[in-house]
Assembly symmetry: C2
Homo-oligomer: 304 residues x 2
């Protein structure tokens, strides 16, 4: 087996930057690709072997490619439109970390196979802080040999690696089902807080009750704090859940499966986006409810 | 102000028994009322001053009444059909801990006022274990003087007391909004796990991913374990959420407020109940999904 030493991280956003730096800390040779000059500069200063705005630079030197772009469209563009797939050495594993549908994952696998490039369907979760500390959760599917080959990379970036088996698409499906829960939890948190506002219950009291009781969720505790504070500076935007719950809907349709709750949550986020809140924090889905008064940001507080 | 020494606990189910014993530990004189012989016997052995199947026994000796019956219908029966309200000394505070609608709470307040009996609208949460240890959460509304008068009782039974203000109905509304979240979290947990089953994702893996990530909720972690284990022995039954989400719907209707998600969850629990699962654990709402195979209980495990 070839050594695993040189890896390219494509997409140096908050997640990709963390992954790239985690690989550096693990002693790998890291090449970073992003259109953003400042991101490339940051990674170069952290010790990257090379950075570029072009996917195909360094392609012949790589032992693995890690894709941290936003969606399936970008994965396709990077691999097949830029010429990267054709430029990689045959056998180079491609780890696709974007949140995409199972169908897209399978289509990408088949296109990569034309170039003799094996894929790991490897969505991640954990956020920017866990990416930075190399403690992501990876929910992955692919051939056992690809897991083995990518072991140094997985060790560098993840605290938990779930192996969902050999079928490409299963990793993506686990991530998508996770997003189903996350999205509905935000939407129902908004529904509950909006009802409390309508009933003239103080929202800080409602928040305190729920976060100390069995009605709590990770998303309620994290996101409804933004509603209590009246601060919709995005942690993650409404439009991300329009996309992710759209993937949930696509996946469910492909397996002829009903989504009584997630389909409604998708409608709620889509409505919030159309009302002009797409770039606000996802908790702004609460703004679809009328006839209520929500807390406004205290201008004396940090970040105002 | 009269001393607070003699209290009656009416309804000695798992919650009422815990409340009664917590009052005993706090040095109060406790009278217990329940139709169930065994429950009365248990409380008598724990040191009750008296027990009876009749609500009106001991009525003239009481400094407070605590109602831990199941619904508004039972509250009405205990107070007004049994003759209890007429038999209590004027001014005796009545603490109503049942989960009821704001409208029912207000109707009960007005009926009690005919007998000069002040009410605390005081739903509880925390489950049987917290009831037993005197660590319930009480979300209450009522006059400041009633909170003050019941302070020894609240101290005895609760770890947290939320004062939602003087308006009867507000305590009930906070509880109902909490139940909205709890019910939707169970229903969406079921939707997600059913989709995972459909995709042939191992449910124990899916459970492990979610419970270590941002898609988690208290209810997912607690109830979807029952699905993974295939064990629908009730912690709390499907029919309880048919009732509680029904109260959510009644309350929303009274305030002209839409419920995009909770209304769907109510339909899901109602469907599960009609399919014959009403007396099973509330996680059995997953059985409304067809075309999937769910784990079955391992007969070698405890409780099989």
């Amino acid at each position: 087996m070839r050594e695993m030493q040189a890896v390219a991280v494509i997409g140096l956003g908050s997640m990709g930057m963390g992954v790239a730096k985690s690989c550096l800390r693990a002693g790998l040779d890291v090449y970073g690709v992003d259109l953003n000059d400042a991101a490339r500069q940051t990674l170069a200063e952290a010790g990257a072997k090379g950075t570029s705005a072009q996917c195909t630079d360094f392609a012949d030197q790589l032992d693995a490619v890690i894709l941290l772009v936003v969606n399936a469209r970008q994965v396709q563009a990077v691999l097949f439109e830029s010429g990267l797939a054709a430029a990689l050495k045959p056998g180079t594993p491609v780890m696709v970390c974007a949140t995409i549908s199972a169908q897209d994952a399978k289509a990408i696998e088949q296109a990569l196979a034309q170039f003799d490039l094996p894929m790991l369907d490897a969505p991640i979760s954990g956020g920017a802080a866990k990416a930075a500390s190399g403690e992501l959760t990876v929910m992955a599917s692919g051939a056992a040999s690809v897991f083995e080959r990518l072991d140094p990379v997985l060790n560098a970036v993840a605290a938990r690696v779930y192996n969902v088996g050999p079928d490409i698409g299963k990793g993506s499906t686990v991530k998508i089902i996770h997003q189903l829960l996350a999205g509905v939890h935000i939407a129902v948190g908004a529904e509950a807080m909006a009802m409390a506002a309508r009933a003239e219950i103080p929202l800080d009291l409602m928040y305190d009750v729920v976060t100390h009781a069995a009605g709590n969720s990770w998303m309620f505790e994290n996101r409804m704090k933004h509603v209590v504070d009246g601060d919709y500076t995005p942690t993650s935007m409404v439009d991300i859940f329009v996309k992710d719950l759209g993937l949930v809907a696509d996946s469910a349709k492909a397996m002829n499966f009903p989504l009584p709750l997630a389909s409604t949550a998708l409608t709620m986020f889509t409505e919030a986006s159309n009302a002009g809140h797409g770039q606000e924090d996802d908790s702004a889905v609460i703004k679809i409810f009328s006839g209520i008064e929500l807390p406004e940001k205290d201008p004396s507080k940090k970040g105002a």
